[in-house]
């Protein structure tokens, strides 16, 4: 399997142009600048690469939605990386920032954009400092600025630091935040490709997506498409964390088995423990079970299994943890991060959070799990963005897959709290009269 992004990424000095160039860096840019812009978009389409940020939308197609011709258009690189479990962009930006910068220059040349931003989460201070230095170095080398390498293409690239808000990873929340506002998502359509930053057409792509562009140009789209599976081409950076012995970032060919990742690469849970559940694509993805470990790790297979590949962040939970504990952590996060703009999300996430506190306090009955599940289904599809869905989907899946355990948890909590035992309907009636 080829390593396209992570190959010897630990090499000292790779964050500087001399080492990056010695390893072939910026050759894709030179090649691209000889090609007509449309031919580059065509290569991207042929490569079949799907967005690496979460939604998996085809990159070539998104780039082709941008209106052609000279006008104020923008590119925004999404480096907000706040989806719990995800930390792959961090490693790429820290160790090989020019991979991203080169990808951005090529993409802007292909789409006729002259103003680009990297929106990086404020907590990534080291990585933002490294990017700042790399951008300055690229400017000095003539890769950024006016008339890049004599091609006539010019580009201004700005590293913009956020200040701690998960919702700013959502593309329209990101655009509002970049305009200096609270990061509230916008109504779509119009999609950013038509009306985005400062109301101009805007291309929003993830760090890894843009970082793969130089490779695609070097290899050619058709050859890139031979890696991976038909619907999920290429390699993918994955972040594996939780109950595994070797957590961290790995580059894999899409389509290898999930067991190979969790056990082969990461060593599986500690000896004596088994996988109880795993999130295949960040905490927003519905959980899968031990029996799903042989699923091929690619966009389509995981979607068919009722979950999603998302950002490529695998969180493994072993059998020493309760399903309730996992659910509670997930819910707290989304309740805290809901921006408050749409009612189903704002109220739904906070209601769910309080509801779980009620379970913990021994004030619920197993029947309440149905209410919990039905509230989740009221959130899905009813908001401007999918932050609420991102809580509702994993919570719904945990309730469905661990119902017995959750019911036992409710009973145990009731016992701890000395609540009335639920023996017959009279007790229930007495309870509801309270």
């Amino acid at each position: 399997m080829p390593h396209l992004l992570f190959d010897r990424i630990d090499e000292p000095g790779l964050n500087t142009i001399p080492v990056y160039e010695r390893r072939g860096g910026y050759s894709a840019l030179r090649k691209a600048l000889q090609m007509p812009p449309e031919a580059i978009v065509e290569e991207l389409s042929q490569s079949g690469i799907r967005g690496r940020g979460g939604a998996g939308f085809k990159m070539g197609q998104k780039a082709s939605f941008l209106p052609k011709g000279e006008m104020a258009k923008y590119l925004t690189c999404n480096a907000d990386e706040s989806e719990p479990g995800t930390f792959k962009d961090r490693e790429l930006m820290q160790k090989s920032p020019h991979t991203l910068i080169e990808g951005i220059i090529i993409t802007t040349y292909a789409t006729g954009i002259h103003h680009a931003f990297i929106y990086i989460r404020g907590e990534y201070q080291l990585q933002a400092d490294i990017l700042d230095a790399a951008v300055a170095e690229a400017e000095a080398a003539g890769y950024l600025g006016e008339n890049i390498l004599g091609s006539g293409h010019s580009l201004k690239l700005v590293v913009h630091r956020g200040a701690g808000a998960y919702i700013c990873g959502e593309e329209t929340g990101l655009l509002d935040s970049l305009e200096g506002k609270r990061g509230n998502p916008r109504l779509k359509p119009p999609f950013p490709a038509i009306e985005g930053l400062y109301a101009g057409p805007t291309l929003v792509n993830n760090v890894e997506t843009l970082g793969t562009v130089p490779t695609i140009i070097n290899m050619g789209g058709a050859d890139y498409a031979k890696i991976g599976t038909e619907g999920s081409t290429g390699t993918k950076l994955i972040s594996v964390s939780g109950d595994v012995q070797r957590p961290g970032n790995y580059e894999i060919e899409l389509g290898i088995s999930s067991r190979e990742i969790i056990y082969g690469l990461c060593g599986g849970p500690k000896p004596g423990r088994t996988v109880k559940m795993w999130f295949p694509g960040g905490s927003s993805s519905p959980v899968l079970l031990e029996q799903d470990l042989d699923l091929s790790y690619d966009f389509d297979t995981l979607a068919k299994a009722g979950s999603m590949l998302g950002s490529g962040a695998i969180i493994v939970v072993d059998d020493s943890h309760s399903a309730f504990e996992v659910m509670q952590k997930v819910v707290k996060f989304y309740a805290h991060e809901s921006c408050g703009k749409c009612v189903p999300c704002r109220e739904g996430t906070n209601w769910t959070n309080k509801f779980l506190a009620r379970i913990e306090a021994g004030e619920s009955t197993p029947m309440d799990l149905d209410i919990l599940a039905s509230v989740q289904s009221q959130i899905i599809g009813n908001c401007l963005c999918v932050l609420g869905d991102a809580m509702a989907m994993p919570v719904g899946s945990i309730v469905a897959k661990f119902r017995d355990e959750l019911e036992a948890e409710i009973e145990a909590a009731r016992e701890r709290a000395n609540a009335l035992p639920l023996t017959d309907t009279e007790d229930l009636l007495a309870l509801s009269a309270h």
Partner: protein, 224 residues
Amino acid sequence: MSSIDRRPPVRRYEHGSRVPGWDEAVDLTKPPATVPDPALTPVPEELRAAIEAEMAKYPDRKSASIPALHLAQRHHGWCSPEAIKQVACVMRLTPAYLTSVASFYDMFYLQPKPKHDVYVCTNITCSLLGADELYERMCEAAEGHDISVRGFECLGACDIGPMASVDGEYVGPLNLDDPKLIVEDIEAGRPVLEHKQLRRRAVADAKGRVDDFDGIAPVGQEGN
């Protein structure tokens, strides 16, 4: 704002609404603050220059709101009314607008805060690995020191969980003895837990590794 909130829960009336005093009251008798008058609003020269440099980077100066608030917070220690007024003066915006922005983001403080920041990640992966107890220990260790400890959402470093960001430096995996060492390092003005810093960590992927890895991430030009 933090995920583990140590404040007492907001009291409520029987029918559910909040008891007055849970949030800051707005003084309705005060006239709304307008864009501050430069003649009457002294702004430290270096802060002004830095904010103006940020504004120059964007097609629309408003885009510099977050960078400018970062600058002002660093200068004043927190986003005090004075800090916000100075940013408003340089950017030609109203203090109310900037307050609304600052209050949205976790990294801005609208209340005075201790000098040093420790964010302990208490999100899913870190908590599976013991972050809640670590957070308690960190709070105990920081007691009496000029250090603010917050439970934070996923900081994007679950591979070193349980972890913390100490004045921006990521360290992990932490054990229950580390909080004490972190406080000692902060007090001594040393780099925190050098051997556990993320910047010194090799990539997990075997093919990403090299024999001559020096284990130190390059430092960028200027810190933010």
